[in-house]
Symmetry: C2
């Protein structure tokens, strides 16, 4: 029987985190240890790197996700290990997983098989406390808003127009919509409120886009928390919140260093939602890794239509990053689903379905290339895959000028990504990348959304009702017209219909709502139902999670 992820992870021989750091030239005393296998880099050290040249940045993204699974994180880890295996100085950059979902659906978010980051239990639970810090910084701002209203509301906040909610790092549907400040005079003014999960906090997005502590504080000040009756904005800065929020975040903002099962360095830092936020790890971690390694492999959330687009148009644009290549992860199984095969029939060879499903892959490849970034396809191998199916994918990739490489890192670790690593290095070193975002800053917000929808999603147009169109104008009038847009749509289709697999065309994208994330620095275009507070299932995995007689965690993964 195959070993489970946790069994494999527990068999790992971890090296002290200072030794991992030394592989990147980090002095031991610049790693603040959180136990022997987790560390945070000191800011003194990070600041000392400014004049060093940058390594090459490689994005791992994926085809449109299906229930069959793609293995993006696993491939990111596998590629990082593969690059190290072929003698390159490489580091990986991942997002921190959210703790809440661990108690709902089974499954962690630290890779799988022989391509994992460790200590995986820590990484999936409290880790170094970053999400706790972000949650409490968020809730301090919430408390300051209601406290301001309580003591006289000098700023004239309209109680009906407080857009800043509260957060908790837990799947808790009963907190989605509440009425707060009940119970009489001493508890304040009753109003509608609600909680999101911590990864949905704008503080999380800010944390991940900030260049340093100063930039963090400035971004926090710009958060719009409410409006007055005349709709003029009230900001976190008006409430004098950014100072104490930054104090709460000052340790968290340092990147976390851990290791892969093969003892290669991995930075895991920040983890914003990929729908209402941009879904990438922190700019500080990515930049630090680029100073320390020659090759940095990072991933973005969901499929390339959402994850890669936001990585390019939001993170790279704002942080001045120049990606050198992208890897698009696909599986034969997932491509078959895009080709119309039901989940229960994925075990049977079906070359035609694979070819049909490759329409999805082909569009993602074309999309990534349209940002000036060369691509490689990683086929994350499953045992039932046949040679003919793999050949079909390779052929489609070739039409897009890309090589598709079969990878077996889940079962073999870096041995299974050697070929991928060589091809990525070849592409990167060929210096064919010529990155630019897909729309300019000064394009009107409406046109930005339309550009993404028509050029990347295959849509014929976007639509919105009058109130939403007014909101586009309102945001531009308020001076937010030069922000990038952050698309919040289903991750399961290029369209807004999650059932439309493959590469649908000619559909229309309805924009239902615009939300301003002024601190993060983007306008969220909501094109579908977006859930910012998950619930627990009927039988949550919490029921099986416990400590065994030796104090080891059982049932978490």
């Amino acid at each position: 029987m195959a070993k489970s992820d946790i069994e494999i992870a527990r068999e790992a021989t971890m090296q002290p985190i200072t030794e991992i750091g030394s592989k990147l030239g980090i002095p031991a005393d610049q790693v603040l240890q959180y136990g022997p296998y987790k560390g945070k880099l000191s800011f003194d050290f990070i600041n000392s790197l400014d004049s060093k040249p940058d390594g090459k940045l490689i994005l791992v993204t994926a085809i449109t996700p299906t229930p069959a699974g793609e293995g993006k994180t696993t491939t990111t880890v596998g590629l990082g290990d593969g690059l190290n295996r072929i003698g390159k100085k490489a580091a990986i950059c991942l997002r921190e997983p959210s703790q809440g979902p661990c108690f709902g659906m089974k499954g962690g978010a630290a890779g799988g098989g022989y391509a994992q980051v460790v200590p995986m239990e820590d990484i999936n639970l409290h880790f170094t406390g970053d999400f706790h810090a972000i949650g409490i910084a968020h809730n301090l701002l919430s408390a300051l808003i209601d406290n301001h209203i309580y003591w006289g509301n000098e700023l004239g906040i309209d109680l009906r127009r407080v857009s800043w909610r509260r957060v908790v790092d837990m799947n808790d549907r009963s907190l989605r919509s509440i009425v707060s400040s009940l119970g009489g005079v001493s508890n304040g003014f009753p109003r509608e409120d609600g909680f999101d999960i911590v990864v949905a906090s704008e503080v999380m997005a800010i944390f991940c886009l900030a260049k340093d502590l100063n930039d963090l504080t400035e971004r926090l000040s710009r958060i719009v928390v409410a409006q007055r009756r005349d709709k003029s904005p009230v900001t976190a800065g008006d409430l004098m919140a950014p100072g104490p929020m930054a104090v709460l975040l000052k340790d968290a903002i340092s990147p976390n260093l851990v290791q892969t099962l093969e003892n290669n360095p991995a930075f895991i830092h920040g983890g914003p939602f990929a729908n209402i936020a941009h879904g990438c790890n922190s700019v500080i971690a990515t930049r630090t890794a680029l100073k320390l390694a020659d090759y940095v492999v990072t991933e973005a959330g969901f499929g390339a239509d959402l994850g890669a687009e936001k990585f390019f148009d939001i993170k790279c644009r704002k942080a001045g990053l120049k990606p050198a290549a992208a890897v698009v992860v696909a599986t034969i199984r997932a491509l078959k689903m895009h080709g119309g095969v039901a989940k229960e029939n994925l075990g049977q060879e079906n070359v035609e379905a694979v070819k049909k499903g490759c329409s999805n892959l082909a569009r993602h490849l074309a999309n990534v290339k349209s940002f000036g970034v060369p691509v490689v396809v990683a086929i994350n191998r499953f045992s039932a895959d046949t040679d003919a199916e793999v050949a079909a994918v390779q052929e489609v990739a070739k039409t897009q000028g890309a090589k598709a490489i079969l990878c077996n890192h889940w079962a073999e670790g870096s041995k299974g990504t050697e070929e991928l690593a060589h091809e990525v290095v070849r592409v990167v070193d060929s210096q064919t990348a010529n990155f630019s975002p897909i729309y300019p800053d000064d394009m009107p917000l409406w046109d930005k959304v339309k550009t993404i929808a028509t050029r990347l999603y295959g849509a014929s147009d976007i639509i919105a009702d009058k109130a939403v169109r007014n909101r586009f104008k309102e945001l531009e009038d308020m001076g937010y017209g030069d922000l990038p847009v952050c698309m919040a749509k289903t991750q399961y289709s290029f369209s807004t219909d999650p059932n439309l697999k493959g590469a649908p065309s000619g559909h229309v994208v309805p924009v239902r709502e615009l939300r301003l994330s002024a601190g993060a620095g983007f306008v969220v275009a909501i094109c579908g139902e977006i859930m910012t507070m998950p619930g627990l299932p009927r039988v949550p995995s919490a029921h099986n999670i416990k400590l065994d007689a030796n104090g080891q965690i059982e049932g978490l993964f």
Copy 2:
């Protein structure tokens, strides 16, 4: 100008935490580091200590608190340093401060002057994440309750009788009373709910009374979260919550090691409220310290009527601890206030007022002695204190068979507590202690409350209306009659009237409500208004807190 606490703390030369550990014989690899100056002890190491003999346990408690301040934590730190100064192997055990209040009223909780524990900013903020872990474990149980109801409510929980609230580590009055699960079918069944601050969580009290991880899990199972329509209890165990809660707490439950300004070892672990809970640091930390040091100095919350009584009747009784001595902290200023002097006149000598106020001190001394614990009085010196005033206190102490010693640790560190340390050692080594709780386990709950009120508070009787008296009976019928009681009354008076200073007698203590903390293992007798969620003041200290240009915290202390 005198240096501020933070200035003094920043001038400290801290030693690596492994070096501090080595003073107690802790091998470096058994200290899990959280940065260079904070560590958690491994459970393997703690378990290896079982057969070692225990050191002597010394409680630091205080007279009834006044706005003049007493300096209990400062004296605990000072005495620990003093004992080390005179050549004893001594450690201190403190509670972890709550983070929320830091953003409301100015002031930390890590000692003061030259008697502090460091790194004080860390200790006052996230520290090693224990409170975050406790908060999220608490909220996981909350989510599981509502999730159970959502999916069919097999256990038959009465929505009106869910007593388990939610928590956040923030002063946020608007969350005291809410209606949750609004917004329609998919968000559950609307009901009344509310948030407490994390220190008020029963998980916090359990955390601090658990002997090990097994005991923790068993206590968590016993938590009563709700009742059915027939009032039968529903427990956390019924909801299968203890397993994942223990998983969330497994790192937090290890004691934290830090150091004093004089580089002596300090365990800071757990921090339950001293009103609805017992107000002491964790049993695990205290027991571990007793295995490692010859003298262990710890403190309890509020004045001795609440703090020492609960330390003796709840913590020592249940953990089998035998305190060897107690130090009662007083200041001349506070005694003057008990003698009727207004705050603005405390600078003037007033021997008569001191004498009058000593009625408060005398009763606390008699009370502590009634537990079979010998006492020493520490007069925490202020510059305006006169010799005549000090002599007056010494005379009163003598009538109780105790020496009152002038201490100057705030200004001088251990040099200022040398005499106190010598006297404490003399009392401890005389082995006059013969500890026993003030009431037996099998006394009826009503009589337990009455015993405390009449024997310690000077009350003539206790009263309660019929519903409350029925609740006494109900809890006994349910099998909780053998639990100790946890008194929740004002800390500002022996009576339930905060304005009655000194040593009032003949008053009647009304019991307004009984709350069951079945997991912690006590019944809370509420005798006054108890606030479990503070608010922020009009001008919260958050307004002044920020990072300076060097990334150092400004305005927190």
